[in-house]
């Protein structure tokens, strides 16, 4: 649709400009704050132009936050979540689109409904599971009386336990399920012509072979789009890592950043905090910049 109304153009541009400013001003303020010394960052009125202490603030933030290990943890978690989400979303969509089975519609709607249940809503049960991932099975064994039976027969008390707290699986696994990714993949799979599926069948390719040889190569752009969104999402996670990493040594960049915020009588070193924030912003920024071309193509899907 092409609209030819000059005043509409002006209004849209003004709107876009305002949104851009609203988004960029905080970033600019953070950048300015990161270049001041303690006195400069706390002066009233605030400075709008950068000072000269950027490198020393960055170095101080990096050192104080132990960012070398924090970044490693965050990167492992973000990459793990991204890969896990892509694989899981692809397999789920594959099952929903290309197979005829009885519970298909039910499962599809179940996945759909999880959109309404983000991690924040189910955080308590999720934490309980993370504390002992085998607790549900223990409950089942207890309920059907198997625990009592085994104890009576052998004298061994069955107590299943798999603690996920302070571990990478604990940080990664609860974040992996993704309805958004499944939908993105489902939409892509629905554009694959039926004849292509049948041609692969005639050529003797089984379902997994078809997935690996045809669907994966064709879905590269979808994968890139999903990877971009999900990397940023995983990197920015705060609540879950905060809960699941009880030892400070295991925390992620975001958790560490919040610890750096001055509290109570502490020296209000906002310049250091902002320098830390700038550092924490870099990896997602790099991913978005690098993947931008693929990202847009993956969402628009003009290829093919």
């Amino acid at each position: 649709m092409v609209e030819r109304r000059p005043w509409l153009d002006v209004v849209t541009h003004v709107l876009l400009l305002l949104s851009a400013v609203a988004l960029l001003v905080p970033v600019w303020l953070a950048l300015v704050a990161a270049t001041q010394d303690v006195a400069g960052v706390n002066s009233v009125p605030i400075h709008w132009l950068p000072g000269s202490h950027l490198t020393e603030n960055l170095a101080e933030a990096w050192q104080r936050g132990g960012f070398a290990t924090r970044f490693t943890t965050s990167l492992i978690v973000a990459v793990g979540v991204t890969l896990g989400k892509i694989v899981l979303a692809m397999l789920a969509a594959f099952a929903i689109v290309f197979f005829q089975w009885r519970a298909r519609v039910l499962v599809f709607w179940a996945i759909f409904i999880t959109l309404m249940l983000p991690l924040e809503v189910r955080i308590v049960p999720t934490y309980a599971v993370a504390a002992n991932a085998l607790a549900p099975f223990q409950a089942i064994l207890d309920a059907i009386g198997l625990t009592a039976l085994i104890q009576a027969v052998s004298g061994i008390h069955v107590a299943l336990e798999w603690r996920l707290l302070n571990s990478y699986p604990g940080l990664i696994l609860p974040l992996i399920a993704t309805a958004t990714g499944t939908f993105l993949y489902r939409q892509f799979f629905l554009t694959i012509p039926e004849e292509l599926v049948e041609a692969a069948k005639m050529d003797g390719a089984g379902p997994l072979r078809f997935l690996a040889d045809v669907l994966v190569p064709l879905s590269r752009t979808t994968m890139a789009a999903l990877a971009t969104i999900m990397f940023v999402y995983a990197w920015n996670q705060y609540l879950w890592p905060l809960l699941v990493t009880t030892e400070p040594e295991r925390s992620t960049v975001m958790v560490e950043l919040s610890r750096m915020v001055p509290r109570g009588d502490g020296l209000p070193e906002w310049n250091i905090v902002m320098a830390g924030a700038l550092l924490a912003m870099l990896p997602p920024l790099a991913v978005v910049v690098l993947m931008q071309r693929w990202f847009v193509r993956g969402l628009v899907q003009t290829e093919k």
Partner: protein
């Protein structure tokens, strides 16, 4: 021996019947064309042979072995799809080699086979291109190459020419036929284009509403359509069909305007019939008609005339002796060229003058009766 044998094959979608009790014995090495209007179940039948659709009832045998439960890859069939269904991310060479790769053939052997197929289809210069960079005809050839490379006993074509432009279609038709002669495999092609069917087929199967209406050599089917449907479907322009009545004597027909026609042989049927005659068999004579339209076909002209009594009649005239529009002309319906059909059931009414079924030639005209 029949290459493909179908016995009472049916396909049900819920309560709907797509294919109903089809009995066919398709001869080995023949080019079989299944012809019918869209929705007649011809594609479903082909897909059941390929193994892409489950068979609801009946039995399918390929090369004498029951195939109902076999996977598509184990049936020894290769298929060429209407939209070619090439893998868009693979080069031409990779596309052709894919069935061999899946089958686990060694790389060197695979490359040799691909080179051989590519040479046969004149695809060698295109091997490194992707399907998106090819024209329709080239894509078609790649699809055929992918089917050929496994050296199947049966080739299945699902409307392979319908996406090509008219000129290319004629050219590809010849190529398909030549390829068939060279490979010596059994080919089964599904189409709704009666010209394609007539020119390609050794054995023609006409389907309508999920049933086989008639089968035989194209000549047999054309010269002696077994039903009103086949008469109207085969031939371009189609056979003229006029309302008529068989008089009590059984050997005389009365047309709508009262004209009496003598039949070469009496028929048992009395009362209303549908009288069929092909446009090329209408001659000059005493039956008055008025020319309504003249279509120049180049080699001849097609005249649309209206008989007294209102019936339309199309006929071929030599281009040099074309009548003008509005002209009154005299026509003749040669008795030996007439076909009679029962109007209610559409079944052909037997007349001796219609070409009798000749003895089977070379095992090609196998009918359901021989099952």
């Amino acid at each position: 021996m029949a290459a493909i044998e179908l016995t009472g094959v049916s396909k049900l979608y819920g309560a709907q019947t797509a294919v109903q009790g089809v009995n066919l014995a398709l001869p080995e090495g023949a080019f079989v064309v299944i012809l019918g209007p869209s929705g007649c179940g011809k594609s479903t039948l082909l897909r059941m042979i390929a193994g892409l659709e489950a068979i609801s009832a009946g039995e399918l045998r390929i090369g004498g072995t029951r195939m109902n439960e076999r996977e598509p890859k184990d049936r020894g069939c290769a298929m060429v799809f209407q939209n070619y269904a090439l893998y868009p991310h693979m080069t031409v060479a990779e596309n052709i080699a894919y069935p061999l790769k899946v089958a686990g053939m060694r790389r060197a052997e695979r490359q040799a086979r691909v080179a051989e197929v590519a040479a046969a289809l004149e695809l060698t210069p295109l091997l490194q291109r992707r399907p998106g960079q090819l024209s329709g005809g080239q894509r078609q050839r790649v699809a055929i190459g992918r089917a050929m490379v496994r050296r199947p006993k049966v080739f299945l074509y699902d409307e392979p020419l319908s996406n090509l432009d008219a000129k290319l279609r004629v050219q590809m038709r010849l190529e398909l036929r030549r390829l068939h002669e060279r490979l010596g495999a059994t080919s089964v092609l599904v189409t709704h284009d009666q010209q394609e069917a007539m020119t390609l087929a050794d054995h023609l199967v006409v389907m309508n509403a999920g049933r086989v209406e008639q089968q035989g050599t194209p000549r047999e089917v054309y010269a002696g359509p077994a039903s009103l449907f086949v008469a109207g479907f085969l031939g371009a322009p189609p056979m003229n069909l006029l309302p008529a009545e068989v008089l009590a004597s059984g050997d005389t027909l009365r047309l709508a305007d009262g004209t009496l026609l003598r039949l070469p042989e009496p028929v048992l049927h009395r009362g209303k019939v549908a009288l069929g005659i092909r446009p090329e068999h209408v001659g000059g004579g005493r039956l008055p008609a008025r020319v309504e339209m003249v279509e120049d076909l180049g080699a001849s002209v097609l005249v649309h005339a209206r008989l007294q009594g209102g019936a339309d009649l199309a006929l071929h005239c030599p281009a040099e002796a074309a009548p003008a529009r509005g002209e009154e002309i005299g026509l003749d319906l040669p008795p030996a060229r007439l076909h009679l059909f029962e109007p209610a059931t559409g079944a052909r009414l037997p007349m001796r003058a219609a070409p009798a079924r000749r003895p089977l030639q070379g095992g090609l005209s196998v009918t359901s009766a021989t099952l």
